[in-house]
C-alpha cells in the first residue's frame, strides 16, 4: 500500500475518534436549556466527521484515479536512503531541545546554542566563525525583538534573572 493510503488510514482513525466524541460523548455535559437550541456545540463537528471519514475512505479505497506521475516528484520517497535523514532528525531534536531550554537558559544562551548546534549538525567545523556568527545573531535578534519591537524576551538564564 502506498504511503498516501497509509496516511488516509491514519486520518480515518482520527476522524472516527473525533466523530465518536462528537456523536456520543460531547453532548452528555450539555445543560438541558442548550438542548432546546437547533445548534449544539457538536453539530458542526458531526458534519465534519462524516466528511472527513468519506474523504479518507475515498483515498483508502482508491476511488479517485491517482495522477500520472509527471517527472520527478517534489521529493522522492524511494530515494529516502540518499537523503540526509539523520541530519534532519537531529535538527528536529535540536528544535525540541530549544523549546525545552528556552526558559531555563534564557533567550541569548539558548539561541546561541541552537544556531551553533544547527550549523555543527550540518557539517560546519570552523568553530570560531560559527561562534561569532551565532553570538552576533542571537544578540542582534534579541535587541530587535525586545528593544525595537517591544516584545519581552527573557534574555538571561533563570538563576541570573532574580528568580
Amino acid at each position: 500500500m502506498a504511503i498516501d493510503r497509509w496516511i488516509a488510514l491514519v486520518i480515518l482513525m482520527l476522524c472516527l475518534a473525533y466523530g465518536y466524541a462528537a456523536y456520543f460523548t460531547m453532548d452528555g455535559l450539555l445543560p438541558p436549556i442548550m438542548k432546546q437550541r437547533p445548534i449544539w456545540p457538536s453539530t458542526f463537528p458531526k458534519v465534519l466527521a462524516v466528511g472527513g471519514i468519506l474523504m479518507s475512505l475515498s483515498i483508502l479505497l482508491n476511488l479517485e484515479k491517482p495522477p500520472a506521475k509527471d517527472g520527478p516528484a517534489d521529493i522522492n520517497l524511494s530515494r529516502l536512503g540518499d537523503y540526509n535523514v539523520g541530519q534532519a532528525l537531529m535538527l528536529l531534536g535540536l528544535m525540541v531541545a530549544y523549546a525545552l531550554l528556552l526558559r531555563p537558559f534564557g533567550f541569548l544562551a539558548a539561541t546561541f546554542l541552537f544556531l551553533s548546534g544547527g550549523s555543527f549538525i550540518l557539517g560546519e567545523r570552523r568553530f570560531l566563525l560559527m561562534a561569532v556568527v551565532s553570538a552576533i545573531a542571537a544578540g542582534f535578534i534579541w535587541y530587535l525583538v525586545d528593544a525595537v519591537l517591544g516584545i519581552f524576551l527573557s534574555p538571561l538564564p533563570f538563576f541570573l534573572n532574580g528568580g
Binding site: I39, L48, M55, D74, N84, G118, F152
Partner: protein, 507 residues
C-alpha cells in the same frame, strides 16, 4: 471611488506607512530570495511584528509590502540560480535562467521587474474597480449565503488541486476544519476536543500552524536533499550588469504585459487558482500566440517568456485580494494567512470593511501602487547587492530558517509548548508532503473554520434547522455550485479513464 482614493492616500502617505511599504518590500525581497521561504512563510514570520505595530492599516501595509517583495524575490532567485522559491515563479525560470547563463541576468531582472510592476499596477486598478461593486452585492448576503459562499470557496480550492488530487485536497480541508474546532469556540463557552490539556484551551495558534505547514517542511527538505539548496556556485550570481533593455524589446513585451496583467488578475480572483496557474497559463498562452521564430526562442531566453509569467503572477496576487477584501474569504494560502492576521488585529474583512473602515481598504490599495513603485525604483538597482544573500552557505542558512520559524511561533504566544506543537505538526506536514497531500487547503480550512461554523450556526438558529438550505434560493444555488465544482472534474476524469480503458480492452 475618488473619495475613497483620497482617504487611502491620506492614510498611506504618512512617514510611518511609507517606511512600512519600503521596509516590507525590502524584507520581503531579501527573505523571498532564500530557497525555502516562500511568501506564505515570510508573511507568517512577519505577523507578530505586524501585530505589535497595532495600527491595522500600517500592519496591513507592511504585510502587503512583504508579500510583493517576496514574490519579486522569488522571481530573482528563479532567474539567477534557477531555484524558484515558490511555485508561482517556476515559469519565470524557464526563460530567466537561460538568460542568466547567456550573461543577460541584468536584462532578465529588468524585464521581470517591469512586468511585475505593470501586472501589479493593472491589478490594483482592476481591484479598485471590481472590489466595491462586488462588496455592494455581498452586502445583500445573509449568514446562510456566507456559509454557502465559503463552502464554494473551499470546494473550488479542492477542485483546482489538479487531477487525482481532489479527494486529498478535500480531506486536508476537512482536517483543517476539524483542527479549528479544537479549543474554546466563540459561539459556545465550552472547550471542545481539548482532551483536558490546558494548552489546547485556546485552540491551535494559526501562526504556529502556518509555520509548521510551510516553512518547516521546506527547511527540512533543504536538509534532506542538498541539491535543493543550490546557492550561487561557480557561475556567480554576483555578476549582474547591463540592466537596460532595448526599445525593440520593450515594444515586443508591451502587448504581452497588457494581456497577461488582465488575464492574470481574473485568474487570481478565482479561489484556489492563484498565481501559479496564472503564471503557467500566461506563459503557455503567449508561447502559442507568438510568431514562429519567437516560439523557437521560448525556453531559451525569450524576454516574452519572462514578461508573461511575471505580469500574470503579480496581477493574480492582486486579484486574490478581491475575495479577501470584499467577502472575507481567502482564495489562497497567502491570503488565508493575511486573513488570520486581520482577525488578530480585530479587523473583520468582508463587504462591511469598505463602509466601516474605508481607510484600511483604500490604504491597502494605495500601498499596492506604492509597493510596486518601490520594487521598481528601489529594488532593481539594489538587486546586485541583495543577491549576495544567495551566497550564504547552507550550513548557516538552514539553522537560521529553522530559528525564524521557532521565533515566529514563540513571539506571538510566549509559550514554549507552542514550539513543541510546531515541531510535531511540522513532522506531520513533512510526511504529508512526502505523500503528495496539498497543505494549503488544510490551512485555509483551519482559518475559515470558525467563520464557517459561525455563519452555519447563525443560519441554523434563524431558520430553526437546516431549512435555510432550500428556503433561500441563493444559498441552494451556491451549494449546488460547490458540489458541481468537486464532482464534475472527477466525473469527467472517471469517464475519460473508463473510455481509455475500454479502448485498451477493445484492442
Amino acid at each position: 471611488m475618488l473619495e475613497g482614493l483620497m482617504t487611502g492616500l491620506s492614510t498611506a502617505f504618512t512617514f510611518t506607512n511609507i517606511m512600512m511599504v519600503i521596509g516590507g518590500c525590502l524584507i520581503g525581497t531579501f527573505i523571498g530570495m532564500l530557497p525555502g521561504l516562500g511568501p506564505m512563510s515570510i508573511i507568517a514570520i512577519m505577523i507578530p511584528v505586524a501585530i505589535t505595530i497595532g495600527d491595522p492599516s500600517a500592519a496591513l501595509i507592511l504585510l502587503a509590502g512583504v508579500y510583493y517583495g517576496a514574490v519579486f524575490g522569488g522571481s530573482t532567485s528563479s532567474i539567477l540560480i534557477n531555484a524558484p522559491g515558490v511555485a508561482s515563479t517556476v515559469a519565470t525560470s524557464f526563460d530567466g535562467y537561460p538568460m542568466t547563463r547567456q550573461g543577460k541576468a541584468g536584462k532578465a531582472l529588468t524585464v521581470a521587474a517591469i512586468s511585475s510592476f505593470a501586472g501589479g499596477t493593472v491589478g490594483a486598478v482592476l481591484l479598485m474597480i471590481f472590489a466595491p461593486a462586488l462588496a455592494s452585492v455581498a452586502l445583500l448576503f445573509h449568514s446562510s449565503e456566507y456559509f454557502a459562499l465559503m463552502v464554494v470557496g473551499l470546494s473550488a480550492i479542492a477542485a483546482f488541486a489538479g487531477t487525482g488530487q481532489v479527494s486529498k485536497a478535500l480531506l486536508m480541508t476537512f482536517l483543517g476544519l476539524i483542527m479549528a474546532t479544537v479549543g474554546e469556540g466563540v459561539l459556545f463557552n465550552a472547550p471542545r476536543f481539548t482532551m483536558g490539556i490546558m494548552d489546547l484551551q485556546s485552540g491551535f495558534g494559526f501562526i504556529t500552524l502556518a509555520m509548521a505547514m510551510f516553512a518547516l517542511p521546506e527547511a527540512l527538505f533543504l536538509v534532506l536533499d542538498p541539491n535543493r539548496s543550490k546557492t550561487a556556485d561557480g557561475e556567480s550570481a554576483a555578476e549582474i550588469k547591463e540592466l537596460r533593455i532595448t526599445k525593440d524589446e520593450a515594444r515586443r513585451i508591451a502587448p504581452v504585459i497588457g494581456r497577461q496583467s488582465i488575464q492574470g488578475f481574473f485568474i487570481g480572483v478565482l479561489p484556489g487558482a492563484g498565481a501559479t496557474i496564472a503564471s503557467f497559463l500566461g506563459y503557455a498562452v503567449e508561447r502559442n500566440i507568438a510568431s514562429k521564430e519567437e516560439q523557437e526562442q521560448f525556453g531559451k531566453g525569450s524576454v516574452k517568456g519572462i514578461a508573461a509569467p511575471e505580469s500574470a503572477n503579480n496581477a493574480a496576487c492582486t486579484g486574490s485580494f478581491v475575495p479577501l477584501l470584499t467577502l472575507g474569504i481567502p482564495g489562497s494560502g497567502t491570503t488565508a494567512i493575511l486573513l488570520g492576521a486581520l482577525i488578530a488585529l480585530n479587523v473583520s474583512p468582508g463587504p462591511r470593511l469598505m463602509i466601516d473602515e474605508p481607510e484600511i481598504f483604500w490604504a491597502v490599495i494605495i500601498s499596492m501602487y506604492l509597493g510596486n513603485l518601490v520594487l521598481l525604483i528601489l529594488n532593481l538597482p539594489l538587486i546586485p547587492y541583495i543577491a549576495k544573500v544567495l551566497a550564504v552557505p547552507r550550513n548557516y542558512l538552514i539553522p537560521f530558517i529553522l530559528f525564524f520559524t521557532l521565533m515566529g511561533a514563540y513571539i506571538g504566544q510566549n509559550n514554549a509548548t507552542e514550539l513543541l506543537i510546531l515541531v510535531g505538526f511540522g513532522i506531520c506536514a513533512t510526511v504529508l508532503r512526502f505523500a503528495d497531500y496539498p497543505l494549503a487547503p488544510l490551512l485555509i480550512g483551519f482559518i475559515l473554520g470558525p467563520l464557517l461554523e459561525n455563519n452555519f450556526s447563525r443560519a441554523m438558529q434563524l431558520y430553526d434547522g437546516i431549512g435555510f438550505i432550500w428556503e433561500r434560493p441563493m444559498t441552494l444555488a451556491l451549494l449546488v455550485l460547490a458540489v458541481l465544482l468537486v464532482v464534475l472534474p472527477s466525473y469527467r476524469q472517471r469517464r475519460a479513464r473508463d473510455r481509455a480503458e475500454g479502448v485498451a480492452d477493445g484492442d
